[in-house]
């Protein structure tokens, strides 16, 4: 695998072209922002001064609503508003980069409405705004091109460096069926989006991965994120017939505390506990009562432990770091251990250390599914960072994902699966 320097040299030309394009685009972006703020302030200024103008504005707003509805933008606006309301910054950032064209379109609508207002107030400014909005539209097209260029010219080459037999489809995503096949998440989904689809072979192992952004409906107005990040599927190097699911450890804080109390404190110091209970009860009840209470408490504790401990299909594995990170569920205890050998468990722990959020893994139908969550959109060109930096980030991300094949030794085909 090539080091980053070599790749960077190969892509030097495209990177430089795109970088100068980016800089020009960035200047235009700021220009548009400043001018639009000026226009808005001016509008506010003249409308405050002009009461008659206010009435016109109100009439115009009614027209505006009709226009907006006609353009089908109501739901988009509602969604944007609810996004801002929900206050989840990562979500907002993640969603603003992608529908930037919507931002531009809304701006265009706004300008159109302002035009109507200004028609009654200042003809000259009206003309300026017409040209300005035309220019904004042109900027929007250039912006689209910038994004597409990065993906088609740079990302495609970058991915081919990692493997000759890898194919990149910027707009494709993993099929919903495959996502559901992993048994890691269940539907129905209210939104299933994604892009940056890669499919191909690394030596003997077939891999597919893409970015996914999946949401489901929770109650009447709420939606909750099911998964956002990289979803990776690979051909596993062993045959198996049952399902095994490795989930991030999800113990209620309360029950973890309870377990801790039961295990460490009460069990270890149970003798003292018995004595204390005995002494306490002796002074209030008679001897038989005390003994009975002690026995009842202890047996209750044992039963509690047994009930908390035994969950259907859960496996207790030998690697302590692994057990701290994950809960493992599966239909066949032996097959779970056949797949999760001590060495694989170590490697999965190492993989987890490289990512910020908890990964979930499952083994179904001879494939391994790895869900790596991310808070932001991936593999997108960034208007505000130099192309070099963006490229490096994407290179490291690809190294992580495609490296999974090497990391987990999936090309070692010494069992019956070839």
């Amino acid at each position: 695998m090539n080091s980053f320097e070599i790749i960077f040299q190969e892509l030097q030309e495209q990177v430089n072209t795109l970088e100068s394009f980016r800089k020009k685009l960035l200047i235009k972006y700021w220009f548009i922002r400043v001018i639009s703020y000026l226009i808005v302030f001016y509008i506010a200024y003249i409308s405050i001064d002009n009461i008659v103008g206010m009435v016109e504005i109100i009439n115009t707003i009614e027209d505006l609503i009709v226009i907006v509805k006609k353009m089908g933008l109501v739901s988009i606006i509602e969604r944007m508003i609810s996004l801002f309301k929900s206050g989840n910054l990562a979500l907002i950032l993640g969603n603003i980069i992608i529908p930037f064209w919507i931002y531009i379109s809304l701006f265009f609508v706004f300008i159109f409405a302002i035009r109507l207002v200004l028609y009654y107030t200042c003809k000259a400014l009206d003309i300026i705004i017409v040209y300005f909005s035309k220019w904004v539209l042109k900027y929007d097209l250039e912006y689209q091109k910038f994004y597409k260029d990065y993906k088609e010219k740079i990302m495609t080459k970058l991915i081919s460096f990692f493997g000759e037999e890898l194919n990149y489809f910027p707009d494709k995503k993993i099929k919903k069926d495959f996502f559901l096949e992993s048994n890691l998440y269940d539907g129905p989904f209210v939104r299933y989006k994604g892009d940056d689809y890669v499919e191909g072979y690394i030596d003997k192992t077939k891999i597919i991965f893409s970015e996914l952004n999946v949401w489901k409906k929770v109650d009447k107005n709420g939606e909750t994120k099911v998964f956002q990040g990289l979803f990776f599927i690979a051909d596993f190097n062993k045959q198996f017939s049952h399902k095994t699911i490795v989930r991030e450890k999800n113990v209620f804080k309360m029950s973890k505390l309870l377990n801790f109390i039961l295990d460490r404190i009460i069990y270890k110091y149970r003798v003292y506990l018995y004595i204390i209970i005995f002494m306490v009860t002796k002074y209030n009840f008679d001897l038989i009562h005390s003994i009975v209470i002690i026995i009842a408490l202890v047996t209750l504790w044992t039963i509690l432990k047994m009930l908390i401990g035994t969950r259907l299909g859960k496996a207790e594995l030998e690697n302590k770091d692994f057990e701290d990170l994950y809960d493992v569920y599966g239909d066949d205890q032996q097959e779970i251990r056949y797949l999760l050998t001590p060495s694989l468990m170590e490697k999965l722990v190492d993989l987890q250390l490289k990512t910020k959020y908890n990964i979930n893994i499952s083994f179904v139908k001879s494939k391994i599914f790895i869900a790596i969550p991310f808070a932001e959109a991936l593999f997108e060109a960034n208007l505000f960072e130099s192309i070099n930096k963006t490229l490096k980030i994407h290179y490291q991300l690809l190294e992580l994902v495609i490296g999974i094949v090497e990391e987990l030794d999936l090309n070692t085909r010494i069992w019956t699966k070839k």
Binding site: K238, Q239, R270, V292, I295, A296, V298, T299, L300, T302, I303, M306, A315, E316, E318, Q333, Q334, E335, R337, Y338, T341, S343, T412, I414, W415, T416
Partner: protein, 185 residues
């Protein structure tokens, strides 16, 4: 007062029943997982004659190791062996299989033989499954031993005369297994 004692006795009774059932489940769990090991070992025994057939074409049956392994296989299939004897014989078989893998290195045509390659893959898979079965058994045994020795189920276990069971020790040959598989590559 009488009612209180009555309720307590009923409660303890229920708890005892739950404990008893749990102990039985764990004992059966141990037997179940032991059975799985036996199943996997049998798969391995079944592969040995094929292995000998393929290898002897190149190495010649006079080769000591092939004779030994065939002999071991016959022995281990007898019905009247104790658990310890079985374990020892199986360890011997693992050793011999390792020896065959090493010996095969000197015969490149054998290494490229289609049948041999297939057999090797099957053997590797069986070895991995045996290891997995043993790990599952160890978990079941640990569960069982815990239940027998921890209070209060140890009282009940004492009544039932349940004994502590031994864990499967990892054969040093199995640790070597990974290295030898790399040889095969």
């Amino acid at each position: 007062m009488g009612l209180f004692i009555f309720i307590v006795i009923i409660a303890i009774g229920i708890l005892v029943v739950l404990m008893y059932n749990s102990l039985i489940a764990k004992k059966n769990g141990v037997e179940n997982t032991y059975g799985s090991i036996e199943v996997m070992l049998k798969k391995r025994y079944d592969l040995i004659p094929n292995l000998v057939d393929v290898v002897k074409e190149y190495m010649g049956y006079e080769n000591e190791i092939l004779k030994e392994i065939t002999e071991l296989r016959t022995q281990v299939l007898k019905n009247d062996l104790s658990q310890n004897e079985k374990v020892e014989l199986n360890n011997e078989i693992s050793n011999k299989l390792g020896g065959i893998k090493v010996a095969v290195e000197a015969y490149p045509e054998l290494k490229a033989n289609e049948n041999f390659l297939n057999l090797q893959r099957n053997l590797n898979e069986v070895e991995s499954q045996i290891a997995a079965a043993r790990r599952t058994y160890n978990t079941a045994v640990t569960d069982y031993n815990n239940a027998i020795e921890m209070f209060p189920s140890n009282i009940l276990a004492g009544f039932l005369k349940y004994q502590r069971k031994e864990l499967f020790q990892v054969n040093s040959m199995e640790r070597e297994e990974i290295r030898i598989n790399n040889l095969f590559e």
